[in-house]
Symmetry: C2
């Protein structure tokens, strides 16, 4: 999560909402990414999607077998869906997102047995640091 | 929807699950795409995501203002989420997906007032043709 947080700081430095993500397989980092929405001009370029695509490119397989993902903020519907689609094994996230979070807050998509894949989630990992990064960013933007 | 269906046929010819998508703005086609999951080796390369990204690239803005999307199959959680994130105005889809569809079937994400954007959906447009394309594909795969 420390590495994901460093990615979030990178996003903040580029005036993006500070979210970072890291995909790990068997203790090794496969891919890391930060939010690129504004830079790329695409609402789909959340840190999680970019990290998942980089990991898939590296392994040469869309099925991210035995891969875990660390994200500094609770994933939205799009990103939770991308994790289901790519068969993520476990999600660790930092700050909870009570407004748009779909991994326990407004929905819990990874736990929905109707999908063909489910995965465990652990929220609140380095919660204070991950949340502070976001709070500082939005405070700066308002000023 | 006819153009989206032609995209789905293109996917089938490339041995991809036949789904096609078209983004339209003020009566003009901004982008079209077919499912590229196997070809790209990425679970995120659904037709809708590819079409949304091509449309954003074309307009130079992640906010797809006044844009409608036509898809041959009811979108999954990831794609419905991407439509919310990119502020799609209206979604038209062909076949219903009772197993994974998140635009009326197992969830109705576009209608959930808790999100910061909602949009209208119209399912069952050219339903028979869109569903037949999928049925034929899976039948061929089984044989």
């Amino acid at each position: 999560m420390k590495i994901a947080l460093a990615q979030a700081k990178k996003a903040a430095a580029e005036d993006e909402v500070p979210v970072g993500a890291v995909v790990v397989k068997e203790g090794k980092i496969l891919a890391k990414a930060h939010n690129l929405k504004e830079k790329k001009g695409m609402a789909t370029r959340h840190a999680e999607i970019v990290a998942i695509e980089r990991a898939a490119k590296k392994t040469g397989n869309w099925w991210l077998e035995n891969c875990d993902i660390f994200v500094t903020l609770e994933p939205c519907a799009m990103c939770a869906g991308a994790m289901i689609n790519s068969r993520i094994r476990k999600l660790y996230f930092g700050a909870w997102d009570p407004k748009y979070g779909c991994c326990g807050s407004i929905y819990d998509l990874p736990a929905d047995k109707r999908f063909n894949h489910n995965f465990e989630t652990e929220g609140g990992v380095m919660q204070a640091e991950c949340a502070a990064e976001l709070t500082q960013y939005f405070k700066r933007k308002r000023n």
